[in-house]
């Protein structure tokens, strides 16, 4: 039983490989965060070590050990914790790779295959990535490497070329909605909303379904966005000030907020083009329809461009407050208000 949602193409490949003994020693799973890379990798590790015939059974000792992270032949490495700085390290270090290279030279201890899963392979330091090359190309028998990467561009080409590259694409919204309703028994309307918000990456939707805080945060962010759009310059700048002060501590939160902005205006674009069934924020349809009537198509599309360029500027270390303030100035004016002069 593979417990991944969607990804038929990857599954076919792996299943056929298991049946015919055609699995290889190195895989690269590439896809956006939350799409199911780790789930699939753990499944594959279970399948390679499962004791039942219909592998992975998810019930035998081996499968459960792997699920709990306690199997001695399945190792997952990712960013480790730096105690000196009390923070996560930014790269996967040489020593971590040296460790698994040494382990890879030993035969399996309790299972049939040794599986090494490298989470966030794009975060391998240059030295670590190069160290991996020779072993990744010709490891011992019974060793499988699984590299997971969200941003393939940052991987060495020599690494990619040594692996079977399997792309995990986001699911279509309809398919994800269906999967969420069937597997997690969420009512269809809420499933559609979660699917839209997750952009086809079921991991996010599952998290959000289990943790009400995520949706609460999203709702309050969205309320803020709407009030900022309707508000005057003073409110907008106060909003930017809050965002910009948080930026130094937590960049990702600001990027997420910008994504939220982009989703909102993307929805406006879709509503404007009469494609309201494709929107992301389905629970705010009325507000969207009301608001999009106030703007012209070209001003919506220009503002989406502005959001994108603001995001780019933030990534290029432009003064964050300046970039966000310019974005606020770019919010198009409502046309209905401008008319009666």
């Amino acid at each position: 039983m593979w417990n991944i949602i969607g990804q038929e193409r990857a599954l076919t490949l792996l299943k056929h490989g298991l049946e015919s003994g055609g699995l290889t020693h190195a895989y690269l799973f590439a896809g956006p965060p939350h799409v199911g890379k780790m789930t699939l990798a753990l499944n594959l590790a279970q399948a390679l070590n499962c004791e039942a015939d219909d592998s992975p059974c998810l019930e035998c000792d081996s499968c459960q050990k792997i699920d709990a992270g306690g199997h001695s032949d399945v190792q997952v490495i990712g960013l480790d914790y730096n105690e000196d700085e009390d923070a996560e390290r930014k790269l996967i270090r040489n020593e971590q790779i040296d460790g698994i290279l040494h382990d890879a030279s030993l035969p399996p201890f309790e299972g049939r295959n040794k599986v090494f899963i490298i989470d966030g392979a794009e975060l391998l330091s240059i030295g670590a990535a190069n160290r991996l090359l020779k072993t990744l190309e010709e490891p011992e028998d019974n060793v499988t490497f699984i590299l997971l990467a969200a941003d393939e561009n940052r991987l060495l080409q020599t690494i990619v070329s040594r692996c079977q590259r399997i792309e995990l694409q986001p699911m279509s919204i309809a398919a994800e909605t269906q999967a969420l309703t069937e597997k997690l028994s969420i009512e269809p309307e809420r499933a559609r909303l979660l699917a839209g918000l997750s952009h086809g990456c079921p991991g996010w939707a599952i998290n959000a379904a289990g943790d009400p805080k995520i949706m609460e945060k999203r709702d309050s962010e969205l309320d803020q966005i709407i009030s900022v759009i309707k508000g005057n310059y003073e409110e907008r700048f106060a909003y930017v000030f809050r965002l910009a002060t948080g930026f130094t501590q937590n960049r990702q939160a600001v990027y997420d907020t910008l994504d939220r902005w982009q989703d909102w205006w993307h929805d406006m674009l879709l509503v404007k083009l009469d494609r309201a069934e494709m929107i992301t924020n389905t629970d705010r349809r009325e507000e969207l329809v009301g608001m999009s009537g106030n703007y012209s198509l070209s001003s919506i599309r220009e503002f989406i461009q502005s959001i994108a360029s603001a995001g780019l500027q933030l990534k290029q270390n432009v003064n964050q407050r300046l970039a966000l303030e310019v974005l606020m100035l770019d919010i198009p004016r409502e046309e209905a208000k401008a008319l009666p002069v």
Partner: protein, 559 residues
């Protein structure tokens, strides 16, 4: 249980078997035949071109027991032990894991011992670009003058990272990317060996996707084999690579030409839901647009297309104007899709851009300087006719019209405060309605109609920006921008200012001279410039301004 991958299973075992790098193998074979094998080689080139393979084959060839002067036999004991990686005298060093100077010192010590069984001790140092500087330097002396029984083979993908002193001590061989033909030969050989029957077109597609790296190509082939068994069809390869087959890209281009953004976004959504590769789809759209452009410009005959394709392209080309196609090609051509971003948004924006009527798309939407009254005038008449095809829902034209038709005044709020109020009546009255559909014509008409002052007003910003010799960047030009021509009589131009300060500045002799120059060069005859200060004299407007209102549009009341 992991089986051996194709790129390991089908690794060539002797120099003669290596296809596609003849410039390397031939040289090496000649060197072997003449017993002139050098003591240090550097193999560099892109991934998957056979560097390590060649290094191993060379190690075998110099040590082969049956034939000392040519290619390896692969049957003698020595060849076999090297192939299995258990020969004591062929030492493969992973330089990326042994980067330090101590590793190299260790190696230097051992080089001096004579080989155990083989004739030559061969050191294959792979990924040599990762050696630290001191490690590289420690290697230099040995690399230059090793003991007679040692051969060094360095292999790397990044030769530019090596020290020049290392480079100059080695015979350097650059491996090339595999050409399509060579790749096909290798692939069909592997197919034969594996008992796979594959369509030649599918193999071609794989070869193209692998961009010259044999290992990538073999990986793709293996994935296809695992997924679809021993009978590989073109459509399988297309599915693996996320290629749609070309119908839907054509459909999208059709929608763009018909200016139907809604249908275009529908098509895109379908493509995305089918899990196709958006980058690939984008490439197909650009290719098709390019063909359309070529057909439209009349150079379609040179293309190798079927008669049906030509017919379809011609029909489409007849429906569109050249500028429209050009715009779409440009917009889609500039698009860069990020690998990490699976969003359809960039493509959707491009579709909207390509289908919007010309005047609504401006290169730099808001950051431009305040639009001049003249620019506004020119834009307004163009915007007024609602282009029927751009209306997504023709059933309710009244509601839709407002947002579509008046973008110019409203969509630039941050700069509106500095914008001088324009005058001179409703702009629609200036141009006859039938010329409105042709933007270029409307422009010209706005210029040639009307009294001299009106003409000047119409071209005011053009006059300033296009004034010769960099005069457009002088302070005087800046002042002129905020002024409005009022009348022209006997070669004396009267301009009015909204602010006292501007008028005072313009009255400075230097600025006035420069302004006269600008105006004269535009009119083609010497002109004088006089300034007047004309403050807002409508008390209602004044009161509104005080309360924070903005002048959006004004009628010509104070003329």
């Amino acid at each position: 249980m992991a089986s051996q991958v194709f790129y390991r299973k089908w690794r060539p075992q002797s120099l003669g078997e290596i296809l596609g790098q003849e410039h390397v193998t031939k040289t090496l074979l000649n060197a072997l035949a003449n017993e002139k094998v050098s003591h240090a080689y550097l193999f560099c080139g892109p991934r998957g071109t056979g560097k390590t393979t060649t290094a191993r084959a060379l190690a075998k060839a110099v040590n082969c027991l049956t034939n000392g002067k040519g290619d390896s036999c692969n049957t003698c004991e020595m060849c076999q032990s090297i192939a299995e990686g258990r020969a004591l005298d062929v030492i493969e060093v992973d330089a990326a894991s042994n980067t330090g100077v101590d590793d190299i010192r260790n190696l230097r010590e051992k080089v001096n011992y004579a080989p155990n069984q083989a004739r030559k001790k061969v050191y294959i140092i792979d990924e040599v670009h990762m050696l630290s500087t001191s490690a590289s330097n420690a290697l230099l002396k040995t690399l230059e003058e090793p003991p007679p029984h040692a051969i060094f083979i360095l292999a790397t993908t990044e030769a530019h990272k090596l020290l020049p002193t290392i480079l100059s001590r080695c015979q350097r061989f650059d491996f090339h990317r595999y050409s399509l033909d060579d790749m096909l030969k290798v692939l069909s050989r592997v197919c034969e060996g594996e008992g796979i029957t594959a369509e030649p077109e599918a193999l071609k597609l794989i070869s193209r996707a692998a961009t010259g790296s044999l290992r990538d190509a073999l990986n793709l082939l293996q994935q296809l084999n695992t997924s679809y068994g021993n009978d590989i069809k073109l459509q399988h390869a297309q599915a693996l690579l996320g290629i749609s087959g070309d119908q839907r890209s054509r459909e999208l281009v059709g929608h763009i030409i018909a200016k139907d953004a809604t249908a275009g976004i529908n098509t895109l959504n379908n493509v995305n839901n089918d899990g196709l590769d958006l980058r690939q789809f984008h490439r197909e759209v650009v290719d098709f647009l390019r063909l359309l452009l070529l057909v439209k410009t009349g150079s379609g005959e040179s293309l190798e297309l079927t008669a049906e394709d030509i017919k379809e392209l011609k029909e489409l080309a007849n429906k569109a104007s050249l500028s429209q196609i050009l715009k779409a090609v440009k917009r889609f051509g500039q698009l860069e899709l990020n690998l990490d971003n699976y969003s359809t948004l960039p493509l959707e924006l491009a579709i909207v851009d390509a289908t919007l009527p010309d005047e609504e798309v401006r290169a730099e939407p808001v950051r431009k300087a305040a639009p001049e009254p003249a620019a506004k005038k020119a834009a307004a008449p163009k915007a007024s006719p609602p282009p029927p095809k751009s209306e997504p829902e023709p059933a309710q034209p009244e509601e839709k019209k407002t947002p579509v038709t008046e973008p110019a005044p409203e969509s630039s709020p941050p700069v509106a405060k500095t914008q001088p109020p324009s005058e001179s009546g409703p702009p629609n009255a200036e141009t006859p309605p039938e010329t409105k559909t042709e933007p270029a014509k409307a422009d010209n008409d706005a210029i040639t109609n009307g009294s001299p002052v009106e003409q000047l007003q119409g071209q005011w910003s053009k006059m300033i920006t296009e004034s010769p010799d960099g005069m457009g960047r002088t302070p005087a030009a800046a002042l002129l921008r905020s002024a409005r021509p009022v009348s022209i009589e006997n070669d004396v131009l009267v301009v009015s200012f909204k602010h006292q300060y501007h008028k005072e500045k313009m009255d400075i002799l230097e600025n006035q001279k420069m302004a006269e120059k600008i105006v004269s060069s535009f009119m083609g005859r010497p002109c004088k410039v006089r300034c007047v200060y004309e403050h807002e004299n409508n008390h209602l407007v004044k009161a509104a301004l005080k309360m924070g209102g903005q002048v959006i549009e004004s009628e010509g009341t104070h003329e």
